[in-house]
């Protein structure tokens, strides 16, 4: 028999009291785990919503602007000439974007990371109406415009197909299977997008090659969108690097969007952590209370043990063993209860969010629970050992 056997025996005999003491810990750990689990799900949700902002970087041809000024009055800028980015520069752009992200995140392998979606814009007449036809790389475009939903038909798959914005389809009275022609080339309408509320609604999307061939623009694109959506993605560094190393293009970080993303995330994290912290403090008070009662109830037992030769350290150690056991029980059940609460409450907080249990919160819950239990036991236990043995016998 060792000291911890003694503790275990005592705990087993006082199951109810110990469970009661553990209950405070369970509630504290439950709340913290619940809040964190919901916050994690909320973050995932916010991320997926943020993806709708699309590109993080926009690369356009470096065109010469002529400022129009009338004295001090700016009249805006006049763009000069038709400008394009040679497709040959796309691999360089990818290299820089992926390289900077790898550097920032410490990634070693060299699969493609950023999504790079080139576009060719041509203003032309279709069925007598002047509108913008956009040449895209279907796969890349889809990755950037995650919010696109097909209302009818299907997405672009091969050459000479066309995807219509919702308004375009309505205004031109076009349906799936209809043929449209621009600059003498034909394309078949294969899909119609749902309304997006953006200028996409008024455009026609065709595969890049189709548009390039139709307007003799082989090997050039109008702009490139780059998406590297992750917390630590260094969009501004990527932009600087592209500007320095590639001539003839100008890269712009979509800074504002990136900053709001980070800002929102940051505020939400701080709020959740503050909430969890406050809960923990309140929970800890409850735990201190039950632990104090539990120690006090055993003042006499402490006196007996000291009378037969227990040192203060041994008594405190015994109580700390007990606290660790209570902490482990409380931490495990707190984690389980907190996860359950998150599953129940989470979808109400972030509408329709799918909650996922977070295994990493189990060790966190255990550590917190053990810490709170030990801290709140150590002091009353220490105090109890300062009671005179003769007085402790009087206490019951």
């Amino acid at each position: 028999m060792k000291l911890y056997h003694l503790v275990l025996k005592d705990i087993l005999r006082r199951k109810k009291r110990v469970l009661y003491a553990a209950l405070g810990i369970v509630i504290a750990a439950m709340t913290v785990v619940g809040i964190l689990t919901i916050a994690t799900a909320g973050q995932a949700k916010i991320y997926s919503q943020l993806e709708k902002y699309g590109a993080n970087l926009n690369v356009v041809p470096a065109i010469s602007n002529v400022d129009m000024r009338l004295g001090d009055l700016s009249m805006g800028a006049l763009m000069v000439g038709e400008n394009y980015i040679p497709e040959a520069k796309l691999p360089e752009i990818r290299q820089i974007a992926d390289g900077e992200i790898r550097k920032a995140l410490g990634i070693k392998d060299d699969v493609d990371i950023a999504t790079i979606a080139p576009k060719l814009y041509v203003n032309t007449k279709v069925k007598g109406t002047s509108l913008l036809v956009v040449g895209v790389e279907p796969k890349e475009e889809r990755k950037i415009k995650t919010w696109w939903k097909i209302q009818e038909g299907k997405y672009l798959e091969e050459r000479d197909q066309a995807l219509l914005g919702a308004q375009t389809a309505q205004l031109l009275k076009l349906n799936i299977g209809d043929k449209i022609s621009f600059n003498g080339s034909d394309a078949t309408v294969t899909g119609i997008l749902e309304e997006t509320g953006s200028s996409d609604d008024y455009q026609i999307f065709v595969p890049m090659q189709t548009l390039q061939t139709a307007f003799n623009k082989e090997g050039v694109v109008s702009s490139v969108d780059i998406r590297a959506l992750c917390n630590a993605c260094p969009v501004e560094i990527i932009a600087d690097s592209i500007n320095q190393n590639i001539t003839g293009v100008r890269a712009l970080a979509v800074k504002q969007v990136a900053e709001t993303e980070m800002g929102m995330m940051d505020k939400m994290n701080k709020f959740m952590l503050a909430l969890a912290g406050i809960t923990l403090v309140i929970g800890a008070f409850g735990v201190v209370n039950t632990m104090m009662t539990s120690v006090h109830e055993r003042i006499k037992d402490i006196g007996i043990m000291r009378a037969v030769g227990a040192s203060r350290r041994q008594i405190i150690k015994a109580f700390i063993y007990e606290a660790v056991i209570i902490g482990i029980v409380g931490g495990i059940f707190g984690y389980l209860a907190g996860t359950l609460v998150a599953y129940g409450v989470g979808p109400l907080v972030f509408e329709g969010t799918a909650i996922n249990y977070v295994p990493q919160y189990l060790p966190l819950s255990l550590l917190l629970a053990i810490f709170v239990a030990v801290v709140s036991t150590a002091y009353p236990a220490f105090r109890a050992t300062t009671v005179k043995v003769s007085d402790s016998f009087r206490s019951l």
């Binding site: 028999m1 037992d301 007996i304 037969v308 005179k388």
Partner: protein, 227 residues
């Protein structure tokens, strides 16, 4: 081996002040048996408590084997409780969550038990005649049996002095006599005993009887022809 010099103990102050011990001196030799008698509230328990360091003196000294022990710190007192002085109480004071054998084992646990310790505890339990009750909890034992467990626990670390506060106070005469014969046995083995009792019958076993009243020693009786 033990000397109490001018011990006094005062509880509280002002209106609630109680002088529990007033200038008490006594001497205990090796193998001595001293009985302490006196009316309720006369300071008997207080005397035992201050001797064993369960309570602090207000004045005077307690000297054990030539060294003052009344002014020792808690850690030094722990050493004394692990082998020099042991207690037996009227209310037994066993740990109710532990079995008889575990209660006897407890003092060994606190001073670093080894493999043989459990056998040792069992051996001591045999001495008090309770080997067949080893796995019983205190709630499953009679008063006399509980007190025998408490005595076993007191002697398992081989103390030279046993302080017993009314060890037979809760028992009928027959059971009390059994317990008393255990003390006699310990005494003949050379252990010193100070025992508080209300019973003149019990006190007859002692070499000297000390009578306390209002914290003062009012009479001492040497018993030559003790039982």
């Amino acid at each position: 081996m033990l000397e109490v010099k001018n011990a006094s103990k005062v509880y509280g102050e002002g209106d609630t002040k109680v002088v529990a011990l007033n200038n008490v001196s006594l001497q205990v030799n090796k193998g001595d048996f001293i009985a302490v008698m006196g009316p309720s509230g006369s300071g008997k328990s207080t005397l035992l408590n201050v001797i064993g360091g369960l309570d602090r003196l207000s004045g005077g000294e307690v000297v054990l084997d030539g060294k003052r022990i009344d002014n020792l710190d808690e850690n030094a007192l722990v050493e004394i409780r692990r082998g020099k002085i042991a207690y037996v109480f009227q209310q037994y004071h066993l740990l109710s969550s532990l079995t008889a054998i575990e209660n006897v084992f407890l003092p060994l646990l606190f001073c670093g038990a080894n493999r043989e310790s459990l056998d040792k505890a069992m051996g001591i339990l045999k001495v008090v005649g309770l080997e067949n009750r080893a796995k019983h909890k205190p709630s499953q034992l009679s008063g006399g049996e509980q007190q025998r467990v408490a005595i076993a626990r007191a002697i398992v670390n081989n103390p030279s002095l046993i302080l017993a506060d009314e060890p037979t106070g809760n028992m009928d005469q027959e059971t009390g006599a059994e317990i008393l014969s255990l003390f006699d046995q310990l005494n003949t083995q050379g252990r010193s005993i100070i025992m508080v009792t209300h019973s003149p019958e019990v006190a007859k076993h002692a070499r000297e009887i000390i009578f306390l009243k209002d914290g003062q020693i009012v009479d001492r009786v040497e018993q030559k022809g003790r039982i």
